[in-house]
Amino acid sequence: MLKIKGLTKYFSRGTPNEVLAIDDLDLSVLSGQFICVIGSNGAGKSTLLSCIAGTSLPEAGTILLKGVDITHLPEYKRAKQIGRVFQDPLSGTCPSMTIVENMSLAMRRGKSRTLRMGINRRERDFYRENLHLLGLGLEKRLDDKVGLLSGGQRQSLSLLMAALVRPTILLLDEHTAALDPKTAELVIRLTQDLVLKDNLTTIMITHNMTLALNNGNRLIMMHQGKILLDFDEKTKNALTVPDLLEHFEVAHPLSPVQVSDRMLLS
């Protein structure tokens, strides 16, 4: 369903600070897969997501979504197919607008904005039902400004909004990293529910290995812009965190940089 071939992305290309963020990466995602992506900082996980979403455009390679080449399509034109939740809980919602207004914006994802009323009376019940699923009592606060909500509430709302209109693919960029452990757990449970309910194809980035092992049906480890390890559901279910670390060591013998770091420290 999503086919990525030879994807290459540089930052600050042509300057002394040039960084190769994604290095000739191939990835094929099947419909209904829930992929967890792990990897150290700078491995290229977030860049991969922003290339799929269109926030950054790659130097080389192609991205096919449902057979359509979207490699160079502007971000707003892909939005119809792609639901996203950002790491920063404040990024996914408009603080000065009410909950209803925010959900109405999400309800029209990828549609042309006309001069019809932007908030629909009939939609309110639908929003209320959806908010009820969160169990945060937000269904009673439809007309409150989103800026009044906590980070966790806002992130839960962002997630709900990303899936309000069924996306072809859901992209979650460390969407629980900025939350306290308890709220993070709530958001993860909500993620599982939403993904299961609509059988959503999902790519979730996380730094938490336990989270990556307990969620989804495929696990990918990235390093230096490449996919280092790729486990299917069966293999993944048998893995533990120490296994994962060991796999990482085996698949990727210490790079010269790390070696020199170690020598310096010892």
């Binding site: 979403a53 971000e75 408009c94 607008m97 904005r113 001069l115 009323m117």
Partner: protein
């Protein structure tokens, strides 16, 4: 204050209120400080004047004036979004260019007189109403219409996308809205309102002048800040009404200030921009002062 001065201030408050609503659309809704307005106010005035002199109906002449303002705003929007020039600078560039364009529009002269020409007030004058009522009726009707239209517009799907563009561009892009487009249209609409204001002012004072736009943005900001401070900004539609009321209060305050006499010192009309700028500074600083005052009070009550 005399009745004449009082009604005069309300007239000005209503007609400049249209401009303030335009500034509100960019400055508050789109988070876009737009100085184009200093040029689009005289643009509206000069276009309407030339049209009226050419024999166009004074009501119909408002349409080309608004279209000219829309175009000026769009140019600022394109400079910002497509050419990536800083928004403040883009608007200054358009404003500067408009100075030359306005003189071109007026056929090479820096002003045009409209004395004895038809105006939007004629149908009401023929009813034998006193002139202050005529102005207040015309400006009042237009202001109420514009406020209603603006409230309606900002509740439409496109209007909501516009509000979201100013609030969280990253989010609304991820929901499929081209923010370049919403900004260009938004700044255009804002400047068409400012041009409408200018077009009515020209007919009101019987002339268009290339220099009449100086200080427009500051007067607009003053109206917004006064309106928001006095009448609050709980909901979008209440804020829009607050801005119009703010404009009226601002003009009343100016009228009072101009009549102030302290031991032989009095303000001149040319001091208006100084008074306005000071007023805006005060109004902008006021919330800060209030907060530090409250904090100090709280500290004192704690130490007791």
């Amino acid at each position: 204050m005399t009745l004449f001065a009082f009604t005069g201030a309300i007239e000005l408050g209503l007609v400049y209120g249209l401009m303030a609503l335009g500034v509100f659309l960019t400055f508050r809704i789109l988070d876009f400080p737009d100085l184009t307005v200093d040029g689009s106010l005289p643009l509206g005035a000069s276009v309407v004047s030339v049209c009226i002199i050419k024999g166009v109906n004074p009501y119909l002449a408002l349409i080309p004036a608004m279209m000219a303002g829309f175009l000026a705003g769009m140019i600022t929007g394109v400079l910002t979004t497509k050419l990536k020039i800083l928004h403040l600078l883009s608007s200054i560039l358009t404003m500067t260019a408009l100075y030359s364009i306005n003189i071109r529009v007026m056929g090479g002269s820096p002003n045009i007189a409209l004395l004895g020409k038809p105006s939007v007030f004629d149908p009401f004058r023929s009813l034998n109403l006193p002139s202050y009522l005529v102005y207040n009726i015309v400006f009042g009707v237009v202001a109420v219409l514009v406020v209603a239209l603006l409230i309606w517009f900002l509740r439409t799907e496109f209007g909501q996308a516009l509000v979201a563009t100013g609030d969280n561009p990253r989010m609304i892009t991820s929901l499929g809205v081209n923010t370049n487009f919403t900004i260009i249209i938004g700044v255009g609409i804002s400047n068409s309102l400012v041009a409408l204001s200018g077009a009515l002012i020209a007919q009101y004072q019987g002339s268009a002048d290339v220099g009449m736009g100086v200080g427009t943005i500051v007067a607009g900001l003053a109206s917004i800040v006064i309106g928001e401070t006095i009448f609050g900004k709980r909901r979008l539609w209440t804020t829009i009404i607050s801005v119009l009321l703010g404009s009226i209060i601002y003009r009343l305050a100016i009228a009072v200030a101009l009549r102030l006499k302290i031991k032989g010192f009095s303000f001149e009309p040319s001091d208006l921009n100084l008074i306005t700028a000071s007023l805006v500074v005060l109004a902008l600083v006021f919330p800060l002062l209030r907060e530090s005052y409250n904090n100090r009070k709280r500290l004192k009550s704690c130490s007791k």
